[in-house]
């Protein structure tokens, strides 16, 4: 029996030394190709006697399998080395900056408006809207401001030049005109589909929107945002108003305790009337709610004046209810600590980045408001 061990060790050595895939292929062809050395040995089996074949067959087949395996191993090793070399050359400097995506922001006043809507929607309020340019009737007369009454002067109203009919339009000084639009049933349709139309009680609406007064300092801007609330039913009293405001304040500020003060006031459109203050600290250029000894007024409210109910065609002996008006910017200032309300309207990108909110900070009861 011929000894193939020399051939095997030669081939094994050649395979191990093959520098690349081409050299390896040449070795394979020389050993296992049609006229390769091992192929020749396999062919020689045919001319052997059965006895010879019995011992030489397994030896030659074994040699072929081991060489083939060695070739495959070496091929894998060469490919892996090649990949390693390529990947090493493909190195990226990951300390280089990725082009940042623009980071947008929601304006804090609008965030606060959404927060307020979320809380009141949960209490069964729906949203009503009305125009910014109003007439005297909706802004004043229907709200029980007698013509030429000094209470009108307190509103520092912006007026337009009189029209051909002598009527002087104005910028609404509060969101209360929408109360009238909601309560007054008329035959005419609302002037636009988004403007509130009259509805039957019970009524439970909030009215967010822009309002305007001729005033400008750190706590007043000529344009600001209000949120009106209106609840009309048969047996709604001031205790319900107090609960509604208290509940709202606790949920809005997301603080375990906010000290509030409910005190009498006067508004032409409510009787009795009230204002609520929250305790806060405004020293040091920041507003901190729940601290300090100052009182900041946050809402004017009261029971809807019987004259308004009558004006809107509701019998005050049958229907009664309350209305309130929050300053949205002011609430935002108290919750999020902006010192100067005028900055809210200055569009300074540094301010917007600092006080703005993520698009994903949608107020919801599970995650909190902001």
């Amino acid at each position: 029996m011929t000894d193939h061990s020399q051939l095997e060790s030669d081939l094994t050595a050649q395979i191990a030394a093959a520098p690349d895939a081409a050299a390896l292929e040449a070795i394979r062809v020389a050993a296992l190709g049609k006229s390769g050395t091992i192929s020749g040995l396999l062919k020689s089996l045919g001319s052997m006697s059965p006895d010879e074949r019995k011992s030489a067959g397994p030896a030659i087949n074994g040699l072929r399998d081991r060489v083939a395996a060695a070739l495959a191993d070496r091929k894998g090793a060469l490919e892996a080395a090649e990949l390693d070399a390529r990947l090493a050359a493909e190195r990226l400097d990951l300390s280089l900056p990725a082009e940042p995506r623009r980071k947008g922001a929601v304006h804090p006043t609008m965030q606060v408006m959404d927060e307020m809507i979320a809380i009141f929607a949960d209490m069964g309020f729906s949203l009503a809207e009305g125009p910014d340019i109003e007439d005297d009737f909706h802004n004043f007369t229907a709200l029980n401001f007698p013509p030429k009454h000094p209470a009108r002067e307190m509103h520092d109203t912006f007026f337009f030049n009189p029209g051909p009919d002598g009527e002087r339009k104005l910028l609404r000084t509060h969101t209360s005109p929408v109360q009238v639009r909601v309560m007054q049933k008329t035959n005419a349709p609302a002037p636009a589909s988004w403007i509130a139309a009259g509805q039957e009680p019970p009524i439970r609406v909030i009215v967010p929107g822009r309002t305007y007064r001729q005033d400008s300092d750190a706590t007043h801007t000529p344009m600001f945002h209000q949120m009106e609330g209106l609840v009309i039913d048969r047996n709604i009293h001031m205790g319900h108003l107090k609960w509604t405001i208290d509940t709202f304040i606790a949920r809005f500020f997301e603080l375990p305790s906010v000290v509030t003060r409910f005190r009498p006031h006067h508004f032409p459109f409510t009787e009795p009337s009230a204002e609520m203050d929250v305790q806060c600290d405004t020293s040091g250029g920041e507003v901190k709610i729940g601290q300090g000894t100052e009182w900041s007024e946050i809402v004017g409210c009261g029971m809807v004046h019987p004259n308004i109910l009558r004006m809107c065609g509701l019998d005050p002996d049958e229907w009664q209810g309350f209305a309130f008006g929050f300053g949205i910017d002011r609430l935002g200032r108290l919750k999020y600590g902006m010192p100067d309300l005028r900055d809210m309207f200055a569009s300074d990108t540094r301010w917007l980045e600092h006080y703005g909110f993520s698009a994903f900070a949608t107020p919801n009861p599970a995650s909190g408001l902001s």
Partner: protein, 792 residues
């Protein structure tokens, strides 16, 4: 309205401190704005006595004093000429801040002698504008007495008087409410008449108009006018009034004490033996007490005598008949002027006087004559003289009618459980009169018109702190939420744009008229007659100018890279239906250069955000026409378009802002922007259920084919895309432009547009022949609709 605690105590028997008064006022509805407390401001100052004063060794005008002070005997250098032994004055120790001179005392030698504090003048305590020397106080005052106490200075309470409560413009009215609130006992406010000694020689005439329905007056003969006594001067000064002379001071005192404005005339300066309240006449003028001349138009009530108009009724008296120290005979007026007319007169004349303020809010008609009697008493007391009988011309306005009131209504409207007896006792304490089931409001409460007002009276005196907090009755919220489609779209737009990298801002609804005109607005009907500033005088027609100007302001601050948006109203007219909600965004990219040479942001970045937003809002983006060159003139004509469903259904405009527009707003470009009108987006049909249509997934592999078309340069690529898409709406699932080329190989005036059509077999795999047929259809459609030829 200002007053002091001691003044309040003239009308209210109470031991309450200033703090207690302030608290009770706040909780009764009198909103205290400010308490000015001199005791706090002058806390460091106290009474001291000079024991010895000798000439300073090194200065002629200085003295070295030995002074007994709260800190014992100290050596103090003083430059005042009146510094002398035995003088009782005010001392400030080292470390004190001197308000009048703005310095803080330090232990510094004065010409070689150390001064251990300072002796103070009235000016240094801000009690007078200037002083000749240090204060000279009553020698009986003990050393160490706080200066505020020694000087009789008191806390001054300043509060807001709501327009419904003119009675709070008098200290007596405040006392009445505080007494009802349990802070003390009201002293009897009644006034006994003073008997007239002779008939009033001065006739009072009225013109019968509404201007002055009632006018009372009397002459006081032989008075001796002059400075009023110290107590009266101090009372007036404490609330910021300037003492004039005794006669005038009495009128000012009663204005604040009883909310009763009065006027005194020097009777010898009156002409014709009469005074008349009437409407002004064209061309008439009044020389008023403030030294100015006012036109007395026919809307304004004047007081006239034989010489013509001599005063502005209820607003301000006239110079010609004013009282001086020489006045001997005085005519005292106590009248009732119409509130509305007086309010208008104040506005027209731009005068806000204490009298005008009170008459405009409505003074107590039933105190017209008692007010005159009280003034008479004070004048007789201070100036002597002999009073005539009282004349009352005209008729005093009556009270409002009594109305039915059931005490149970307090509980129904307020929720407060106040017993019936308590309800009545509160109302009585406030002056309401009960007869059977009816209630009559007092004459000074002209604001009370019905039972709801009485509930407020009871509730505020009982205290709002006692109100229950009752949960609102359960009201089922509508299934599907409370927001309308449009309201929800506003929320979605806000979040979508913030997520796309834009920062939300809020701009004024008004802008400069010239700016509004740049954006198609500026209509007369939208111009404010009283703007807050000249450049904010017109309602905006668009959200663009505000955002573009914001870009400019940020750039000027050194931050030119902006992506801003706003959701807010824009105005096409002054009718409610003319208001629309605009979603406006601007992109002014000035990002730093990039190391990876990636593409810069531009108009197509903004277009992507706009289309993503429209998709979020449920707009039919696939059907939108891009009407290029049809956008408004403030856009770059070649780089702007309208997005519309048809010529009358314009959803948005977008593009680059016209350089001329930017220049007019002083902003550097380029600025890319869009404005979309929320109400223009069609609302989806309401569906009964929210189920989505069933999804069918094709088992067949999609394939794609590329086509390079040559078209006219002016042909929109969108037209090529639409043409290709239209070749087979079933099989062609999408068309994308992947190259646009002009240059060698493409004829002059033409461009190549390369598109990839995605083909989705629907029922079976397509054969080569079928694909060929589809390609031929695509080429034919592109040729027909877009004039496109396949590139050879």
């Amino acid at each position: 309205m200002k007053f002091t605690l001691s003044w309040l105590k003239e009308h209210l028997q109470t031991d309450a401190t200033t703090a207690q008064v302030v608290d009770a006022m706040t909780m009764a509805g009198l909103e205290v704005e400010h308490v000015e407390d001199p005791a706090a401001k002058l806390a460091a100052f106290s009474v001291a006595k000079i024991v010895e004063a000798v000439q300073h060794p090194n200065a002629d005008r200085l003295r070295v004093c030995q002074v007994d002070t709260a800190q014992g005997r100290l050596e103090i250098v003083c430059g005042a000429p009146n510094a002398r032994a035995g003088l009782t004055t005010v001392f400030a120790p080292i470390g004190t801040y001197i308000p009048g001179s703005g310095i803080t005392l330090e232990p510094r030698p004065v010409r070689g002698v150390v001064s251990n504090g300072m002796l103070c003048s009235a000016a240094e305590l801000e009690l007078a504008d200037d002083s000749d020397g240090i204060l000279e106080l009553d020698g009986a005052l003990a050393v160490g007495t706080p200066a505020a106490q020694a000087l009789g200075l008191e806390a001054v309470i300043d509060f807001e008087v709501t327009p419904n409560r003119p009675d709070w413009l008098g200290v007596a009215g405040i006392a009445r409410d505080l007494a009802a609130a349990g802070l003390g006992t009201l002293k009897d406010p009644s006034v006994a008449p003073v008997k007239g000694e002779f008939p009033n020689p001065i006739t009072i005439r009225l013109d019968g108009s509404d201007a002055c329905p009632a006018f009372s007056g009397r002459l006081i003969r032989g008075v001796k006018n002059g400075p009023s006594p110290a107590w009266l001067q101090q009372r007036l000064k404490a609330v910021g009034l300037r003492p004039i002379n005794a006669l005038v001071d009495v009128t000012n005192l009663l204005s604040y004490d009883r909310a009763r404005p009065l006027h005194v005339y020097d009777a010898r300066k009156l002409t014709g033996g009469f005074v008349e309240a009437r409407l002004g006449r064209e061309g008439e003028t009044v020389e008023a007490l403030d030294g100015k001349s006012y036109a007395a138009t026919p809307e304004i009530c004047v007081i006239a005598d034989g010489s013509g108009a001599i005063g502005l009724g209820g607003v301000m008296g006239g110079e010609s008949t004013g009282c001086s120290d020489d006045t001997v005979d005085v005519f005292v007026e106590s009248a009732w002027f119409d509130p509305i007319r007086t309010a208008q007169a104040g506005r027209t004349l731009t005068i806000v006087s204490d009298a005008q303020y009170r008459f405009a809010r409505g003074v107590d008609p039933e105190f017209v004559v008692p007010g005159l009697e009280l003034a008479t008493r004070l004048i007789l007391e201070l100036c002597g003289g002999e009073p005539s009988e009282v004349t009352l011309a005209g008729e005093l306005p009556g009270r409002r009618p009594a109305f039915d009131f059931d005490p149970a209504y307090v509980k129904k409207l307020s929720g407060l459980d106040v017993g019936e007896a308590k309800v009545w006792s509160i109302l009585e304490a406030l002056g309401f009169e009960r007869s059977g089931s009816k209630v009559q409001a007092p004459s000074w409460r002209r604001d009370v018109e019905g039972k709801a007002d009485l509930v407020e009276e009871v509730a505020r005196i009982e205290g709002y702190g006692a109100l229950p907090a009752d949960p609102l009755p359960y009201l089922p919220t509508p299934a599907g939420g409370v927001l309308t489609v449009r309201q929800n779209r506003i929320r979605v737009a806000r979040r979508a744009l913030a997520a796309a990298g834009y920062e939300e801002t809020i701009c004024w609804s008004f802008t400069a008229r010239a700016t509004a005109q740049l954006f198609g607005g500026g209509d007369d009907r939208l111009v404010l007659s009283n703007p807050i500033a000249a450049d904010l005088d017109c309602m905006r027609p668009s959200g663009l100018p505000g955002l573009i100007e914001a870009v400019g302001r940020n750039a000027k601050r050194g931050f030119p890279d902006c992506a801003l948006y706003e959701i807010g109203p824009v105005f096409a007219g002054d009718e409610p239906g003319d208001q629309r909600t605009a979603v406006t965004a601007v992109l002014a990219p000035h990002a730093p250069r990039r190391w990876d040479k990636g593409p810069a942001e531009g108009l197509y970045t903004l277009k992507a955000a706009l289309y993503a937003l429209l998709d979020e809002l449920g707009a039919p983006t696939a059907n939108l026409q891009v009407a290029q060159g049809q956008a408004s003139p403030w856009w770059h004509p070649g780089r702007s378009a309208r997005l519309q469903l048809g010529p009358k259904a314009v959803l948005a405009e977008f593009g680059e802002i016209h350089p001329a527009t930017l220049k007019a707003l002083d902003v550097d470009g380029p600025v890319y922007a869009f404005e979309l009108w929320l109400e223009a987006i069609p609302e989806p049909k309401k569906k009964a259920v929210k189920t989505k249509p069933a999804l069918t997934l094709s088992p067949f592999m999609p394939l794609s084919r590329d086509f390079a078309f040559v078209v006219d340069r002016a042909t929109a690529a969108g037209d090529v895309v639409r043409a290709v898409q239209s070749a087979d709406r079933v099989l062609i699932a999408g068309v994308r432009v992947f190259d646009v080329y002009e240059g060698p190989g493409v004829p002059e005036g033409k461009k190549s547009v390369a598109v990839e059509a995605q083909i989705q077999p629907r029922e079976k795999t397509l054969t080569d022949a079928e694909i060929e047929a589809l390609s031929a259809k695509i080429i034919a459609a592109a040729a027909k609709s877009a004039g496109a030829a396949l590139r050879g």
